[in-house]
């Protein structure tokens, strides 16, 4: 492995594009050979000749022949990816970084707080927890998005609600007449849930502002720094601990993260930017 070219992407065929919301699409990829990742790890996805960007697969880590990546239109590369049709050949490098430490979750209640496209990595985690639900007490999933149209993975949510040990709560910033669930920012859901905090861990992923207020709220509720896990989003280029773009204080987020326990990073500069 050591003399493999770390910069050369594996080819992967785009086999399906799923429209999740007006700004978010999922891309189902078939890598040219089997591709394994742990939930929470990320890949560098290449759009040939255009650019490369980091994404966390949103599919189950137990599926090895296909991988799904959910992408929000956010700028130059992601807008071009959104225009793709099935059949396109893309490139993937990875998997990189440290994913969710499932061993630290076993035997506990797991509070999962997601916002917007932050659901993507969390869905992979939820798939993984479904497969291992005998090893956890309960999973409470709280999800917030801008409006009902931006709520992604609707069929998946419907299934999850039927699942034993899983509870689902959703909110939108701006509701319309179709909406029968909560209204308000994602953190309002934390007032609704019942959780035995001492016996629980919390996982947060979403836009920086939501992560910041999510963590503040969890701390207020009585969670300790060591019970909160975050998926950090930083600028990345190499994913390999070399290019320096992802540095967050002493950490290379691409290798030491992207998943961190809050106590590990709370004293580093600019964590919410």
């Amino acid at each position: 492995m050591k003399d493999d070219n770390i910069y050369k992407p594996l080819r992967a065929k785009l086999v399906e594009v799923i429209e999740e919301s007006p700004t978010i699409k999922s891309f189902v990829l078939e890598p040219e050979r089997e591709f394994s990742f742990a939930t929470g790890q990320f890949v560098e996805l290449t759009l040939n000749g255009i650019g490369e960007a980091p994404f966390t697969p949103s599919s189950s880590p137990l599926v090895k022949d296909k991988m799904e990546i959910t992408i929000m239109k956010a700028g130059y590369v992601t807008e071009k990816i959104h225009k793709l049709n099935p059949g396109e050949i893309m490139g993937i490098r990875g998997p990189y970084g440290r994913g969710y430490p499932l061993e630290e979750f076993y035997g506990k209640e797991i509070m999962v707080l997601g916002g917007g496209c932050g659901f993507a990595p969390l869905r992979s985690l939820l798939y993984n927890l479904e497969a291992e639900k005998d090893r956890v007490k309960k999973v409470t999933f709280c999800y917030g998005s801008k409006n009902p149209a931006e709520c992604i993975y609707k069929p998946y949510i419907d299934n999850l609600r039927k699942m034993d040990k899983f509870e689902v709560y959703r909110t939108v910033d701006e509701a319309d007449e179709s909406w029968a669930e909560e209204v308000g920012v994602a953190t309002v859901l934390l007032d609704k849930v019942e959780v035995n905090i001492d016996d629980s861990v919390a996982v947060v992923c979403g836009p920086p502002i939501m992560m910041k207020f999510g963590v503040m709220k969890l701390l207020e509720m009585g969670y300790t720094d060591k019970q909160i896990y975050l998926s950090m989003e930083k600028n990345m280029s190499c994913g390999l601990g070399k290019c320096g773009h992802c540095m967050m204080g002493e950490y290379f987020v691409c290798m030491d993260g992207p998943v961190f326990r809050y106590d590990e990073i709370k004293d580093q500069p600019n964590i919410w930017k």
Partner: protein, 337 residues
């Protein structure tokens, strides 16, 4: 000093021409008051400068070119012979090797260039205004990462091997020239020169805090000093580009899944910008401070090797006339009060 060989200056000229034929041979040549590596051939072999501190270009450039296609097949290349690397630049290879060779992922292009080159280090026999190697535990004469060490003394050149490659090279040289064991007296003179220069450097930098204390001072500093020093920074990135240990890069995509590794710098606006336009380094003083924190506070927590070897290039090159050492001395003096 270990085993030192000696060769006469006349024989050395013949050796140089032979080397220029077998290798891509680079050595420092001076022009317009500065000195830099040039490709050596018979026309300029006589112009090589010996034992003068610091070519303008840092050594890293030979191993991490400013732009390189990092998806192309590795090509067989004429081996490179790089002569004239000063101690600070050789010491800087430690952190590069740690990053590009010894971490979980090896950069095969870097590895290939390192393997394919022979390094001839120089003792420095004088200092430039901003040299401060000794403040960070580095002597002004190479002690690591060289294959051969070369010191010119009047009519003789003294050579010492620092690796198996160096020893093989010395053997090869014996085919073209008379190589003898160095005179006791010459070795003594070198040792004196070394001790003298080290003393001069230490004296000149006696107010400069050491590497670890600099880290502690930066960590404890408040925003004002960064605002004040950054006021003339124009974000040109020259300080990072010229630094022998700064190697941040950006991967650029080309058709056919080609990727170019291009030197980048945290001093350029947007270096850490993410989608949604959040940018932790948006404000100039924060961005300016980032480079100091990286070198003195963060890298030391991640790597065994130091991230500033005291070459002084960033000070000489700064268009805003920002003097890193003046800043560190100011931090140190404030802290004492």
């Amino acid at each position: 000093m270990g085993k030192i060989s000696s060769i006469s200056a006349t024989d050395w000229q013949t050796v140089l021409l032979n080397l220029a034929r077998s290798y891509s041979f680079y050595a420092p040549v001076s022009f317009n008051g500065s000195m830099d590596y040039e490709l050596i051939d018979e026309d300029n072999a006589g112009e090589i400068v010996y034992n003068h501190p610091k070519p303008s270009t840092p050594l890293k450039t030979f191993f991490l070119p400013v732009k390189e296609n990092v998806t192309a097949d590795l090509k067989e290349q004429k081996p490179a012979l790089i002569m004239g690397a000063p101690s600070c630049d050789l010491a800087a290879l430690d952190i590069l090797d740690e990053m590009y060779l010894n971490r979980d992922y090896t950069d095969i292009y870097y590895k290939n260039r390192r393997k394919n080159s022979i390094l001839i280090g120089y003792d420095c026999q004088s200092m430039l205004e901003n040299c401060h190697c000794t403040s960070y535990g580095i002597n002004p004469f190479p002690e690591k990462n060289f294959d051969l060490l070369l010191i010119k003394l009047d009519d003789n050149l003294l050579l010492q091997s620092g690796s198996a490659k160096g020893t093989a090279m010395l053997k090869e040289l014996e085919n073209h020239a008379r190589i003898t064991e160095a005179e006791e007296n010459d070795i003594k003179r070198i040792e004196e020169k070394r001790a003298d220069l080290r003393e001069v450097l230490t004296q000149k930098n006696n107010k400069l805090p050491g590497y670890d204390s600099s880290g502690r001072l930066i960590k404890a500093s408040d925003d004002n000093i960064w605002k004040s020093y950054a006021s003339t920074c124009v974000s040109c990135g020259a300080c990072a580009t010229i630094c022998p240990t700064c190697t941040c890069f950006l991967l650029i995509d080309r058709p056919d899944f080609e990727k170019i590794r291009q030197l980048d710098a945290c001093q350029y606006p947007g270096f850490e910008r993410v989608a949604g336009d959040e940018d932790p380094l948006e404000e100039l003083p924060v961005r300016f401070k980032n480079r100091y924190q990286c070198k003195y506070v963060w890298k030391p927590l991640k790597f065994k090797s130091i991230a500033c070897t005291g070459c002084g290039r960033c000070i000489e090159t700064c268009i805003g006339k920002i003097n890193k050492n003046e800043l560190l001395r100011e931090l140190a003096s404030e802290n004492k009060v």
